[in-house]
């Protein structure tokens, strides 16, 4: 925490008396002004004063932290802070601990994540960083774009199988168990399994394909009206250049109303929809239409058109 004995304004702090604050506009009446708080105006006036003389010192860290806490999107304050950290050889681990607080507090800001990235490139301790990201994504915002893409950057930049990659599938599974509709987690799974080349221990591709088909089908069966899971299935088939018709038996189960006379069987290849599923499922109808269209010929097209007609009834927004 910041020491609270300091006066609020830099203008009132004795050890800042030598800096000449710089007003933002020479013209006192700019168009579209922002009504700054006194505290923000004070800090940014002193920041402009510091930038003007090019000072890089410990107190610059104090000043830029104050600005960042009031406006975490002030990219110039971040940039100047980074250069100052390097210039005065500041301990980067200390900086990272401060960032632990700020990243959670200002999670939706680009700069809090990028600043971490700059630091981790220098400290080269990605494992602790991965643990921090896991913590951040376990909070309220489980789809934070910056956090997920930062995790993906970390994995690919350091590219360490044992320390970093080995736990990723378990992590995804944990996130999807919490919320099977979290598309950020589905994208991460695609990143790990398909988009990043063949990882260690995954060389047997037939086994991986089987594993992923079972995984995605099972998740679709729990909650069939989940666009994210269907996209994963389409994405992996396309990536592997496997025809969509590979999964036709599975897809068909979801294109018809629920069958109450159904007996419960465990079928990993073609898991049936859960009893509470809302059927028929539009994503399945679209999928089946695409299968028929790709199969081509008069009967294929006719079947596809028939399914598109059905889609119009089920999905009033998209008109084939």
């Amino acid at each position: 925490m910041e020491p609270t004995l300091e006066p609020l304004l830099f203008a009132d702090r004795p050890h800042w008396a030598d800096v000449i604050p710089q007003a933002q506009y020479e013209d006192g009446d700019p168009v579209a002004p922002i009504f700054y708080t006194e505290e923000y105006k004070d800090a940014t006036d002193y920041f402009r004063g510091i930038v003007k003389i090019g000072e890089q010192s410990q107190r610059v860290l104090e000043l830029t932290e104050s600005i960042i806490r009031q406006n975490p999107a002030h990219y110039t304050a971040w940039q100047y802070r980074y250069e100052t950290l390097l210039a005065i050889n500041a301990p980067l681990d200390v900086e990272l601990r401060l960032m632990d607080e700020l990243a959670i507090k200002f999670m939706k800001t680009y700069q809090v994540w990028h600043h971490r990235q700059l630091l981790v490139v220098l400290t080269r301790k990605p494992q602790a960083e991965l643990a921090f990201i896991t913590r951040a994504l376990s909070g309220e915002d489980q789809k934070n774009y910056h956090t997920w893409s930062y995790r993906q950057w970390l994995l690919s930049y350091f590219n360490d199988e044992e320390e970093l990659w080995s736990g990723e599938l378990d992590f995804v599974d944990e996130m999807l168990t919490r919320d099977v509709r979290n598309n950020s987690a589905w994208h991460h799974r695609f990143f790990v399994v398909w988009a990043s080349g063949v990882r260690e221990g995954e060389e047997d591709r037939e086994r991986i394909v089987r594993r992923e088909l079972i995984y995605v089908k099972q998740n679709i069966s729990f909650a069939p009206n989940n666009f994210a899971a269907w996209n994963y299935l389409r994405g992996m088939l396309t990536h592997l250049k496997m025809p969509f018709s590979t999964v036709i038996d599975f897809v068909k189960l979801y294109t018809v109303p629920f069958d109450p006379s159904r007996t419960d069987i465990v079928d990993l290849e073609n898991p049936p929809p859960s009893k509470q599923a809302h059927l028929p499922c539009v994503h399945a109808i679209e999928f089946l239409a695409d299968i028929h269209e790709r199969e081509g010929g008069q009967s294929g097209i006719e079947q596809a058109v028939e399914l598109w007609r059905q889609l119009v009834k089920e999905d009033t927004m998209r008109k084939p």
């Binding site: 020479e26 009446d29 700019p30 168009v31 579209a32 922002i34 009504f35 708080t37 940014t44 402009r48 930038v51 009031q70 406006n71 999107a73 002030h74 990219y75 110039t76 940039q79 250069e83 680009y110 700059l118 490139v121 220098l122 789809k143 774009y145 893409s149 993906q152 950057w153 590219n159 360490d160 919320d179 509709r181 979290n182 598309n183 950020s184 994208h187 398909w194 729990f222 009206n225 989940n226 666009f227 994210a228 996209n231 994405g235 992996m236 396309t238 250049k241 859960s274 009893k275 599923a277 809302h278 695409d290 269209e293 790709r294 199969e295 097209i301 058109v305 927004m317 998209r318 008109k319």
Partner: protein, 535 residues
């Protein structure tokens, strides 16, 4: 008239399949709110009105009196506050008075960095995003000549600033020590296009980078990451950036999932770059998967209970700003048909039902094969692929704040950003704007061969004898493709009638056509032929 049963089916909540999660709770909560904002189905209910007067007052208050202190969060985005406000005026068919134009020019020029580019405020570092916003604000409020803003832009320094941000994979940092993402690329390319600064050197590798950001869902992500070689990672180098030999073309995974904002930036960048393709690619051109992009975009439009608004990612909530980021992609897709010298093929299904005909192999139509048998012009691509009327309903019924200004969704407050992107999206849904080969031919007839006026890097293009010609061909293509967008009046469809009519906006720049034409004619030293369908 609608029977209650049809209405209840039509406004059915999203299925939860007996498995509620955080996503479905938030979705249900939003649907409950939005259901109060769906179009009234009672017979004789009046059509929705765009409350232009309230929105004008909201914008004028921001411009003249200023922004309340919560906008401290936008202190590093001051040119954006100006652009969002002024472009909203332009779309609302309102021009700025000379006094406020002067004040705007003066403020924007105070943001120019001594080393090139514009910053988010006076004394702030140059950054690609405020550079776009500053230049577009000058396109609206500025003019040539002393104190007009245009001729005070230091293009030589700006070009050097751009080149200083360039990465080996064709991407750009958004600022020194800052992140890479496709927003920065969009801002850079639009700025360079408007100011006659596009060169093969500047955009080398950029199209490939954009293509690498497309995800398996079809939309685009913020960025992508090339891998280091394995041997390099086993003995970590102290150097923070990889040497070029370690960049691999594959794998280059996208960082982050498909997202509306990044998709607009990527697609608009792609469209802006395409006139360069014949000049920079000899054989193999990078390609994007257009059918998959189309599929993803159409699925971003919400259902009836979501009043037809767009969401920005799979399983996220609808938000008024995606009216532009997603809705605005449809006219851009039309441009992929018109550039005749490109091999991107858009395929239509048979029987005139307008369903995209996905290639049977699962390969993309744009994979670089000729595929001529499948090639057809896609008529009314936007009409067929998203509901323009439903999007207008979202903005008019849910996007307007009763006290003026537009917003994400009810019951949120309006802000400057959502006001512009709701209005831009509404404008795009009202008008059918598309590139015209006829208009391009007219522009080319009037083209005066010339070389660049004063900026950039002609010295750097040192291995061509006929620099001037190469340069002139590129500039001619960039200029004519960017300015050949025309409005097809017969295609406009304005919910609520002509009182709700907005100006059309350029699908790439998000400036009006007149503003885009004026600033480009100035910097390219050209005079444009009269435009029949001027917007």
């Amino acid at each position: 008239m609608e029977s209650p049963t049809t209405a209840s089916i039509r406004f059915a909540p999203s299925p939860i399949d007996g498995l509620p999660t955080t996503t479905s709770y938030m979705q249900a909560e939003t649907e409950e709110v939005l259901l109060k904002h769906v179009a009234p189905s009672a017979p004789g209910s009046s059509p929705p009105t765009l409350d232009k007067r309230a929105h004008m007052q909201y914008l004028i208050r921001n411009l003249i009196q200023g922004f309340p202190s919560r906008y401290i969060s936008q202190d590093a985005s001051q040119p954006w506050l100006l652009f969002w406000t002024l472009q909203s005026f332009s779309i609302l068919q309102v021009g700025l008075d000379p006094g406020n134009k002067e004040r705007t020019i003066k403020k924007v020029l105070s943001l120019q960095h001594p080393d090139g580019g514009f910053g988010g405020g006076p004394g702030q570092s140059a950054h690609l995003l405020p550079t776009y916003a500053a230049v577009c604000t000058l396109a609206i409020a500025g003019r040539p000549g002393p104190d007009g803003g245009w001729d005070q832009i230091d293009r030589k320094k700006m070009y050097n600033f751009f080149m200083s941000l360039k990465q080996k994979d064709g991407s750009f940092l958004v600022a020194k020590h800052a992140e890479v993402d496709v927003r920065g690329i969009y801002c850079l390319l639009v700025t360079a296009t408007l100011l006659d600064m596009l060169t093969p050197e500047l955009v080398a590798g950029t199209a490939e980078f954009i293509a690498s950001c497309q995800t398996y869902e079809g939309g685009f992500s913020s960025s992508s990451q090339p891998y280091f070689s394995v041997s390099q990672t086993q003995t970590p180098s102290p150097s923070p950036s990889p040497s070029p030999s370690l960049l691999l073309p594959f794998p280059r995974p996208s960082l982050g999932e498909a997202h509306g904002g990044y998709t607009f930036c990527s697609l608009a960048s792609w469209v802006a770059l395409r006139p360069m393709f014949p000049h920079i690619f000899k054989e193999q051109r990078p390609s994007i998967d257009t059918p998959n992009l189309l599929r993803w975009l159409t699925h971003m439009q919400g259902n009836a209970i979501e009043v037809g608004g767009f969401r920005g990612r799979t399983n996220k909530l609808v938000d008024g700003c995606y009216s532009w980021w997603c809705g605005g992609c449809f006219p851009l897709l039309e441009a992929l048909d018109v550039c005749a010298n490109d091999n991107v093929v858009v395929v239509v299904g048979g029987g005139g039902h307008g369903q995209p005909n996905y290639p049977p192999t699962g390969e993309t139509a744009a994979a670089g094969e000729e595929g001529e048998a499948q090639e057809e012009v896609w008529d009314d691509v936007d009409d067929a692929l998203y509901s323009r009327i439903a999007l207008q309903e979202y903005i008019l019924y849910a996007g307007q704040h009763p006290a003026g200004g537009l917003r994400d969704k009810p019951p949120k407050n309006p802000d400057a950003y959502h006001t512009l992107y709701c209005l831009s999206g509404l404008s795009s849904a009202q008008h059918h704007v598309k590139p015209s080969e006829y208009r391009r031919a007219e522009i080319l007839k009037c083209w005066k061969p010339s070389t660049r006026t004063d900026n950039t890097n002609n010295n750097n293009n040192n291995n061509e004898d006929d620099d001037g010609h190469v340069d002139d061909d590129i500039r001619k293509d960039v200029f004519s493709y960017m300015l050949c967008w025309t409005e097809d009046e017969s295609g406009s469809d304005i919910l609520g009638g002509s009182v709700n009519r907005l100006n059309a906006t350029h699908p790439v720049t998000n400036l009006t056509m007149s503003h885009t034409e004026a600033i480009m004619s100035h910097f390219y030293g050209q005079t444009l032929p009269n435009n029949q369908s001027h917007f």
